[in-house]
Every structure is written in C-alpha cells, then in structure tokens.
C-alpha cells in the first residue's frame, strides 16, 4: 500500500496507531489484520517471553517464537485436514497457552475460532457445534472429551477432535480423535511440503474477514454467535491502547474464560499490540495464589473477584490483633482521604500525601504485597456493575481501579473511565473513535468500527440488533450526564411492568442489592404482578462468617439460608436498598436460593451472574410462595 495514503500515526508505548481513532483503515504498527500483526510481532520478538504457564508447580516461559511455530503447525494441520477459509473451529478448554496458539493458528489460515465454556454441558456443546457448523473441535482433556463422545452421533459435520492433554487417554483409539502432538506433526509435515503457504494465507486475510465467533450467554433463548471481524478486533486494540495503555514490560494474569470477549481482548489480542507477557492461572480456584506469584502490572477482573479479595482482607483484619486492626483502620482512613482527592481529579494536598506515604510504608504496602497488587498500576472491572464503595476502597489501599463497559457486540470495549477522566458510579466516556447515543426509549446505541458484523447465520436477529441508520442497539438502558459520562440503569428487555402499569428497570435495584457484601446476586420479580419481590443468592463466605460470629447454628448451605438470623440480615439489606427507591420500586418480599449454585448450573452464566429466565423457571415455587 502507498505509504502516503496512510492516516497520520501516533506512537503509544512504542506502538504506532492512527492519530485519529475510529477511522479506516485501522492500523496497528502498520498492519490491518490480527494475523498480520501476529506475524510481525513473532518475527520481531522471537525469543522474548510471550506466555508463562505453571507446570508441576514451576512457572515456565514460552516465547513468541514458540507462539508462532505452534500456531503455524495448528493452522497448517487443520488446513491439511480439510479446514476451508471461513469455516469454524470450536475450542473447549480452560485458559492455557494452547488456547492462544489455536486461536491465532485458526485465524491465520482463514478459519473462525469459537470458544466453548468448559462448564457447558454435552447437549450445549452439540448445539454450539451444529449452530456454528464447526469442522473441528479442540478439547482440553478427557473430561471435555467425554462430552464430545456423548454427542458424537449428533455432530456429523465435525471432521476431527483434537485433545490437548493426553493424561488418562493413552489407550484411546478413536477414528476422529487425535492428540495435539499428532496435529503438530501433521503441521510440521505440511510446513515441509509447502514452506510459504502459511504466510500466504496470512496475506489473504482482509479486515472484513470474520475472525472469531463469540456465543453470547443468551439469558433468553438459545445462544447466538456474534461474528467479529479482523477489523473489529483491531478497532478494539486501538481503543484499548488509547484508554488502557500497557507497557511491553508488563505482566498480566489470564484467568477469566477466554471464550468471553473481555479476557480474550486483554490476554490474547491486546498483548499482540502492546507485547506484554501473559501468565495463565493454573485453574479458576488458584487465582488468588497465582495473583500473588505473578503480581501483575494490570489486572482486569469481574466485580465478583474484586469483592472476594475485599472480603478476604476484611476477614483477615477482623481476626488480627487489636494493634494491627487499629493500624489498618488508621491507614485506611488516610487512604480514603487521599482517594477522595484523586477521584475528584484534585491535587492531593502535601499534608495528606505525607500522611499517606507514612501509612503506606507501614501498612498498605504490605497489604498490597500480600494480595499480589504491589506492582499494580491499574485494575479494571467490567462485565457487571461494581459497587462505588468497593471502588473507593481499592483506591484507598493504593490500587487504582477503573470501571469500564463493553459487550461482545461492541468487540468488548465500549466506554471506560481513565485516570484523567474518572467518575465513580459511571462507566466512563465512550472510547475514542466510538459514538454513543441514547435513543428515545432510553436505549444506549453505538456506532463505530467496534460494532460487530452480525449474528452467525441469523439475519433476523442481526436486523433486530441494528437500527435503520446503522447504530447498534445494545439493549442496555442508560443516560449520558452533562460531562459526557455514561451510566447504565438497566436492560431493555428486562423491564418489568407491574400490574399497576408502572415500568421498572430491575437491573438498577439488583445492582444496589449486589453491592451488599452478603448478597452475591439477586433477581427482581414482578412482571404483571401487584408488587416487586426478589430471589437472592447469598455470598456464602461472608454470610457463613456472619453466622459464625453471631453464633447462628447451621450445618450446610440450605440450613444457613433457612436460619432466621440470616433472613433478618438480608431483610435489613433489602430495607436499606428500598429506602433509595420510590414506593412502587420497593421489594416487598424475598426468598433466598438455598442451593449453592455452580457455573455448571443453567441458572448461572459463566461469569456467575444469575440468568433471569432460568432462575424464574427453576425457582417458580419460591416465587409463587411470595404472591
């Protein structure tokens, strides 16, 4: 391409971007597709560390060169086995380096990568394979393989299944299944036979090609596959670079599911641009220990994780010595004082700064080291609303935490707070180059290169998602304040119309409830009913601690939920929330969900949010009981 027609470039942390974001062609270091950026990076960085993974208790490093060769072998082998450009490969695995290898390998040869949650059932897997018309399935281990074996007959379109871990599978003999090492061998042979074909395939990629398919959690109806193009992701990378700058020496921790656009962006695509090192957590259960070991420079998590860390600190301080408790209290007080200035974008007075310096040295610094946040320049929270009090608390202990918003259909990033422009309780300003407007019915609508291409083989749903003038209907309701900050108040389709004819957005009430440390999630009920009620899922750890401290006897989770003292505790929380709302919006009654739900349950999304429709169905008896 003629260099003179290039848009003017700006350099951010050593990577060049278009000076005016949101314009075609989207360029990152001169490249226009994810795959060509990937090729450029691997060639430049070679032996530098791209990934770290823990193997038998030791963190091992894997270079950009490894990234390149493995992705190449996977891509070439799949091509050899029959993958055509524009066909889908599904990946069913926890986060690990092979996830990234496969994602890039598939896209480099023109395939489309589609992630499947490891918590999905066999029948959900069958649906996803058939809906996406996947040609190949990559499974992590024997547990995930068994899901495929259960539904083998229902997915005739699948050519091969590739298994990442051979443990327990040495004697597996199945015509369609192969181990990853065998795939690598096919890839190696293909490379020998046609040494330049991989690069040629990368050259073929166009910005408008679909690179990934992300199935939306589908709180109503079956999941739909959102198609994201190479350009969509590049626009996301561009927006991320402007709003979430990462340095090339940064360490990151990858632990949220890579099927989700948030972690996919942060841990696979953004590092292609910013060159940061990604550390894969061993498992979802070990995140806190891994956080300590890695001590990342930036850390993006969902509110539930931030909440858990906070609760742990709270429990620790309650069990500390009186002197330790007092010191922590003093430090926190000074921390809050300082945070108040920082959050209002005012300079911190010298006196406060000096006091903070002292308490930071004495207490807070140690706390951050213990949590693995001593190197943290910036924390991020997204995918669900976070309590303003919790945000402030993190600022007070010296961890700057920013809230952002995005969805699959906006390629992950829509708006976000930054250090310069931060307003707690809002989700910040639209990312550069992205337009956001509020429609007459209050819906947030967006326009820009981040907007996805549509739903996979579902023109009807795609048409519903875009307005006539080409704006994306996000389905969220919100407002933009005088300073340009966006605030979300609810979901359009969740609007409850009570028997009295009053429109209510339950999300607002639900997030207020969730801000309580004792409430993990809540669903407001009341559509076509006389008054509002709620089903509440308690936070097991905090409520158990509460019960234990107050000598409330309980044996298991159900008996904990049945204890009168616990019902009273939640009633108090509900009453506190009720005070903030008008009478018709108040919760008249509630029930606790007395089964401990896990991500495998249909009532929860993979990010542990309650799914309204499933919850209403599964706990209908509790709801009927309230009316």
């Amino acid at each position: 391409m003629d260099a003179t027609t290039l848009p003017a470039q700006t350099v951010i942390n050593g990577v060049s971007f278009n000076s005016t974001p949101g314009q075609r062609p989207v360029k990152v270091d001169g490249t226009q597709t994810i795959v060509s950026l990937f090729k450029k990076r691997c060639a430049e960085l070679g032996d530098r560390t791209a990934h770290r993974e823990k193997d038998f208790g030791i963190w091992k490093t894997y270079s950009w060169a490894d990234y390149w060769t493995r992705a190449k072998w996977i891509g070439l082998a799949l091509r050899k086995l029959g993958l055509q450009r524009g066909e889908v490969v599904s990946i069913l695995s926890e986060d690990r380096k092979e996830w990234a290898y496969a994602d890039l390998g598939i896209q480099c040869v023109g395939g489309i990568a589609s992630g499947v949650y490891t918590t999905d059932s066999a029948s959900q897997l069958a649906y996803l394979i058939n809906d996406s018309d996947s040609r190949f399935l990559i499974v992590e281990n024997e547990e995930q393989l068994d899901k495929y074996l259960q539904i083998e007959a229902q997915v005739p379109g699948l050519l091969n299944v590739i298994i990442l871990e051979d443990e327990g599978l040495h004697d597996l003999d199945h015509a369609r299944c192969m181990l990853i090492d065998d795939l690598y061998k096919i890839g190696q042979q293909a490379e020998k036979d046609e040494p330049t074909v991989f690069e040629a395939e990368i050259e073929k990629a166009q910005p408008q090609d679909i690179g990934l398919l992300i199935y939306t959690s589908g709180t109503t109806g079956m999941p739909k596959g959102a198609m994201l193009s190479q350009e969509n992701v590049m626009a996301g990378i561009e927006a991320g670079a402007h709003r979430l700058p990462v340095e090339e020496t940064d360490e990151q921790l990858c632990f949220l599911p890579l099927c989700h656009i948030l972690e996919r962006n942060v841990s696979i695509y953004f590092p292609l641009a910013c060159k940061a090192t990604v550390n894969f957590a061993e498992s979802p259960e070990t995140v806190f220990a891994n956080l300590q070991e890695v001590s990342p420079a930036t850390f993006v998590a969902v509110p539930r994780v931030w909440e858990k860390i906070y609760s742990q600190v709270l429990i620790l301080t309650q069990d500390a010595t009186p002197a330790g408790r007092a010191a922590f209290g003093m430090a926190l007080k000074v921390g809050f004082e300082r945070a108040e200035y920082l959050l209002n974008n005012k300079p911190v007075p010298a006196g406060v700064a000096a006091k903070f310096w002292l308490w930071d040295r004495l207490v807070l610094r140690n706390l951050r080291r213990m949590l693995g946040m001593d190197n943290m320049r910036r924390g991020g929270s997204g995918a669900a609303p976070i309590s303003p009090e919790l945000l402030k608390w993190y600022w007070a202990i010296g961890v700057p935490l920013l809230e952002g918003w995005g969805m699959t259909e906006t390629s992950g990033l829509g708006s976000i707070n930054t250090f310069e422009e931060n307003k707690i309780g809002t989700i910040g300003k639209p990312v550069p180059g992205y337009e956001i407007r509020i429609a007459d019915d209050g819906e947030i609508q967006t326009k820009g290169l981040n907007n996805f291409k549509g739903y996979w083989r579902n023109n009807e749903k795609t048409a519903e998602t875009f307005t006539d003038d080409g704006w994306l209907r996000t389905g969220d309701i919100g407002e933009i304040d005088a300073d340009g900050y966006l605030k979300i108040t609810g979901r359009l389709k969740d609007i409850i119309i009570t028997a009295g004819g009053k429109n209510i957005t339950p999300a607002e009430i639900e997030s207020r409830l969730k801000f309580s440390h004792y409430v993990s999630d809540a669903v407001i009920i009341g559509d076509r009913r006389k008054y509002l009620t709620s089903l509440i899922m308690i936070d097991q750890e905090n409520v158990e601690k509460y019960a234990q401290d107050r000598k409330v006897p309980f044996s298991n989770f159900a008996s904990l939920c049945a204890a009168q003292e616990i019902k009273d505790l939640i009633a108090e929380e509900v009453n506190a929330v009720n005070k903030e709302f008008a009478r018709v919006e108040q919760i008249k009654d509630f029930r606790l969900i007395d089964v401990l739900l896990t991500a495998e349950d249909e009532e929860l999304t993979a990010t542990m949010k309650l799914k309204r429709s499933y919850v209403e169905k599964a706990h209908a008896h509790l709801i009927d009981d309230m009316y």
Binding site: E143, E544, K551, P553, S555, E600
Partner: protein
C-alpha cells in the same frame, strides 16, 4: 424428636494459627449412631478431640445432656459419660488386657458395677476373656481395637466417640467389629458418634450422617439420604459413574445437594 443428648453449636478449633474446624453445628440423639464422613484433614478427629476435652474450642458450645462441657478437662468429660475411643487404638501395650480394662473403669469406684461391665465386655468380645492375662501389645490389630472399645465400655458411658475403628483392619474384621457395634447400639441402646473413612461400613451402621470438608459440614441427613446422594456415591462409596469410556479418570465436581 426429643432434645438431642449431644448438641454442638458453631465450634471453631485451632492448631496454633491453623483453623481446623470452621464452625460446625450438629446434633446427636440418644440411642442413635451418627457418622461423620470426610477426607483426610477435614477436621473429623479434631471434632472428636474437641468434644472429649483433649482440645479446647476457640468459639462455640458443646452441650451434653443440658450441661455445657466445652473446654472441660478430659477426665471431667469422661465422668459426664462421654468416652473417646481414639484413632489407632492406643492400648497400653505392656499391661494385660485385664489391666487395660480396669484402667477404663478408673473413674468408677463401684466394684460390683466394674465387674458387671467387665462381664459385658467379655460377652461382646469373648476373645478378650480368653486372653485376659496376656499383654495387650501381643494382640492382633483387630483384637486391640476390640480392647480399645471394651476399655471405653468399662466407663459405662452414655455416648461413645469412635474414631476410625476400621483403621488398618482386614475387611472381615471390619465387618466383625461393626456387627458388634451394631449389637451394642441395639441391645444396650448405646449412643455413638462414629468417624470413618470407610463410608459404606459407617453408613450401614449409622442412622444419621454428616459430611465434613475442610472444617465445615457440607451435607447432612439420614444414612439413607446420604447413601442415595450422587456425591456420596461417587466420592465416598466408590460408585463409578456411567461414562462414555472405560477407564474414566475424571470426576465431576461435588455439589452437595
């Protein structure tokens, strides 16, 4: 049901800074056999030690027959009628069986009662009578376990805490000892709290059960309910789930429902 004879409420016990029991509440009713299941390190033995007074709880109450006994000295607890048959038997190896049994009756001074109890023990464990003058250290593992239970019976207890009576015994001996325990419960109306790794033996004997994991109770119910639970079947009774392949090695996650 009547008031439980042993009532445990929100017990927390520590080994130094390590919290071994993180808030346990449970009930034992008179005449019932209650089994505590759990993996190594779940806190089962600690719970027993806390009841018998060998350890003091940091928090919580233990009520036996209406009296609070948490933190009492072990010998006071024995006098109340709680006997602890420890894990690994702990018989006195150089004393004879008779002497071991007499030590079990240390808290009692009623000679007639002691002799009556000794006959009762010999009635249930005839082998002990046969070898009454032999040193306890020369007994087999199963016989030592019998002696440990017999020694416990000598205190004429109202409740017996049995910590892993099946430990290190052959399947046949396990069966024998559990048959005797069942008879003791049925004929003497002996209340028992039983900690076991051998879940199938324990649930066959017990009326009620609790499952402990990392210091907490995660599930409770009657023995029939527990045996019907998929989690118990998979993780404690060794039932293999139907899989797509033979040699399946992974297990699904526990849900405790």
């Amino acid at each position: 049901m009547s008031e439980p004879i042993l009532k445990i409420r929100n017990i927390e016990s520590f080994y130094g800074p390590i919290m071994a029991i993180r808030g346990v509440s449970l009930d034992v009713h008179e005449g019932r056999v209650v089994s505590i299941l759990g993996a190594n390190g779940a806190g089962k033995t600690t719970l027993m030690k806390t009841i018998s007074g060998v350890m003091d709880p940091e928090k919580g109450t233990i009520t036996f027959d209406g009296n609070d006994i948490q933190g009492s000295e072990p010998h006071k607890v024995v006098q109340q009628g709680i006997v602890h048959v420890p894990e690994g038997r702990e018989v006195f190896p150089l004393l004879t069986i008779d002497e071991n049994l007499s030590l079990g009756a240390y808290t009692s001074s009623d000679k007639g009662q002691i002799e009556h109890d000794r006959e009762l023990v010999f009635n249930y464990f005839p082998i002990l009578k046969e070898r009454r003058n032999q040193e306890a250290g020369t007994l087999s593992g199963g016989q030592q376990q019998m002696l440990a239970i017999g020694r416990g019976l000598m205190a004429n207890p109202r409740i017996m805490l049995l910590d892993e009576p099946s430990l290190g015994l052959s399947p046949l001996l396990v069966q024998e000892i559990f048959t005797i325990l069942k008879r003791l419960n049925e004929e003497q109306n002996m209340t028992m709290m039983l900690v076991e790794q051998n879940a199938s033996a324990a649930l066959n004997l017990a009326h009620d059960g609790y499952v402990m994991e990392v210091g907490r109770i995660v599930m409770d119910g009657t023995a029939e309910q527990l045996m019907a639970s998929e989690d118990i079947q998979n993780f404690y009774l060794g039932v293999q789930e139907e899989g797509e392949r033979e040699n399946r090695r992974w297990k699904r996650k526990k849900t405790w429902r």
